[in-house]
């Protein structure tokens, strides 16, 4: 039985994300590298989901479909990590609190299984969220 769990979301660099942005953000590799949420083993259990399941991650600021993968840099129960990129930035806290810097780290989110929903490519995702017409 799948559940909805609450996590604290942070974003940041991974080497796979770095390779993907230099290799071409229009390519599926970028989605593979950054269209994911890294979660702790314990949180997978609470969610009641298999690894590499598509999930919907929702914050006060938006909602996004990404693939849930088990973290290789844990344990960090209660913490979710989406590599920096448009998937993370669709849901992070844009408030800068008069510093100029959005709050990319420390955003309360919920995660729920969304097995049949597609994960969009990077450029496609931003165009869709911005309402840009494409061919």
């Amino acid at each position: 039985m799948a559940n909805k769990i609450s996590l604290n979301l942070i974003s940041g660099r991974t080497i796979q994300q770095g390779v993907a942005i230099e290799g071409g953000k229009e390519k599926p590799l970028y989605r593979t590298a950054a269209g994911i949420i890294e979660m702790d083993h314990e949180d997978f259990k609470k969610l009641g989901a298999w690894k590499s399941t598509n999930v919907r991650v929702t914050s006060e600021f938006g909602s996004i479909i990404v693939k849930a993968v088990e973290t290789s840099q844990g344990p960090h129960p209660g913490l979710g990590f989406i590599p920096m990129g448009p998937w993370a930035n669709a849901i992070i806290n844009p408030n800068t609190y008069s510093t100029g810097m959005p709050t990319f780290k420390g955003v309360p989110v919920t995660v729920e299984v969304a097995m049949n929903e597609p994960i969009l490519l990077g450029i496609e995702l931003v165009q869709k969220l911005c309402g840009v017409k494409t061919e």
Partner: protein, 438 residues
């Protein structure tokens, strides 16, 4: 026959590695192999050779398609956009050379633009803290030769600056650090057990966003005063162990990253990290350095500071430079909907800004100057591909420790492609005509 070019500079991260070897074809038109660089740097060099690369400017059409246009038409659109706008933004600058940044600043003055660089979403809060309290820093050469206490706070160089540890901070044998890694103690502060943390002598796995508390606790521990049993999720004994390790070194350095600049507290976290460094100098020699991301974000701050007096978030709309992050910073200006034109160069706000800010870029006249296809080019009205700086043209760049290094050209760009600087000079000259500036 092929040629091997040595001592090539890597234009990816702020480490600005200067020992790459690149193999090119005899005519200098094809890049074949890259040696010594990290996997990200290698990808950057090799991607310049991609067969599907866009080599001419493209204008986004009403029906969603893209129409190829000439560089002259792209110059005309850009100059007209900047001439007509009341409050344009010229953003990016961190993946291009200082020469191009300087021409860009001339354009910004003529068009009375707001200017910002990627520090706005990276180490901008560090710059605010430096203005608050100062920065006792050093060069990476000093770190290599002297540092025996290395602290990585809220940064993960194993992923973000892959050769930093092998060239400067952990593994190299320096003049006073002849045993390399054996000469050094490594402390990592991070809420995750990162690949950097796995190498640490002490890993402080703090609760996310509690950096200020932990920094403050370290200052208390240095003085041997009372501490609560647990601070930021770390037992006080472990904090005292880390504090003693820091104090007992001969030369220490704190490298800090986005974990502190982007978490709540922001510039105040850095204030406190710098105060920790100041306190440690009561006992030994200590320095602190931001782990700068883009290879020339430091240079952009330098050029802004020489020419306008401020390192980022500069507003020239009144004809003189004003600086007030939170007011004149790019994310705030976009989310408040104050800008009426967006010029982006050498960065990708479409991928790295909150989506609420990107939506405003998509709704106004916009130009994206970038060799790659990116989310920014995808939502801009005009995309101008240019030569890869550091691969297909040279130019001055600044390493994360403010050391200037000249990037090298190793291969010819595709025929007819302009560099950032050449495109900006054309825009500047046309803008001068439009504005009637001599």
């Amino acid at each position: 026959m092929t040629k091997t070019i040595t001592d090539v500079i890597c234009p990816f991260c702020g480490t600005l590695c200067d020992d790459l070897e690149v193999v090119v074809s005899d005519d200098g038109k094809k890049l074949l192999e890259v040696y010594n660089s990290c996997v990200i740097g290698t990808e950057k060099f090799l991607h310049s050779q991609a067969k599907d690369r866009v080599t001419r400017p493209r204008m986004h059409q009403e029906d969603g398609s893209w129409k190829e246009i000439s560089y002259d038409d792209a110059v005309e659109y850009t100059a007209q956009m900047l001439a007509k706008a009341k409050k344009p933004m010229m953003f990016g600058w961190s993946s291009t050379n200082c020469e191009a940044q300087s021409v860009g600043n001339e354009i910004a003055e003529i068009s009375k633009a707001c200017c910002d660089n990627t520090a706005a979403t990276c180490h901008g809060t560090s710059l605010i803290a430096v203005q608050d309290i100062g920065l006792p820093s050093c060069t990476l050469g000093e770190v290599k030769n002297r540092a025996d206490r290395i602290i990585f706070w809220g940064c993960n160089p194993a992923h973000a600056h892959p050769r930093h540890m092998s060239r400067y901070s952990i593994f190299p044998r320096g003049f006073f650090t002849g045993k390399g890694q054996m000469s050094r103690k490594l402390i990592v502060v991070d809420p995750r057990v990162t690949d950097t943390a796995k190498m640490a002598d002490v890993h402080l796995q703090l609760e996310q966003g509690k950096d200020y508390e932990l920094l403050d606790a370290l200052r208390v521990a240095f003085k041997g005063e009372w501490l609560p049993d647990v601070v930021a999720g770390i037992p006080s004994e472990k904090i005292r162990e880390a504090a003693d390790m820091m104090k007992s070194g001969r030369f220490g350095i704190i490298f800090f990253g986005m974990g502190v600049t982007q978490s709540l507290g922001k510039n105040h976290n850095i204030d406190e990290a710098i105060a920790v460094t100041k306190d440690l100098n009561e006992y030994t020699k200590f320095s602190i350095m931001p782990m700068r991301g883009h290879y020339n974000v430091t240079g952009s701050g330098e050029v802004f500071a020489w020419q306008f007096g401020f390192p980022y978030s500069v507003d020239l709309t009144r004809g003189f430079a004003r600086y007030n992050p939170g007011d004149t910073s790019v994310v705030d200006l976009l989310t408040r909907g104050e800008l009426d034109a967006m010029f982006t160069i050498g960065s990708d706000p479409g991928a790295h800004f909150p989506i609420s800010a990107v939506k405003h870029i998509a709704s106004i006249p916009s130009v994206c100057v970038d060799p790659h296809l990116t989310p920014t080019s995808g939502v801009s009205k005009l995309h101008v591909p240019v030569a890869f700086n550091g691969v297909e043209c040279g130019g001055n760049c600044y390493r994360m420790d403010n050391v200037p290094i000249d990037c090298r050209k190793v291969v010819e760009p595709p025929e007819g492609m302009l560099t950032d600087e050449q495109f900006l000079i054309k825009v500047r000259d046309r803008l001068k005509q439009l504005k009637g500036v001599a």
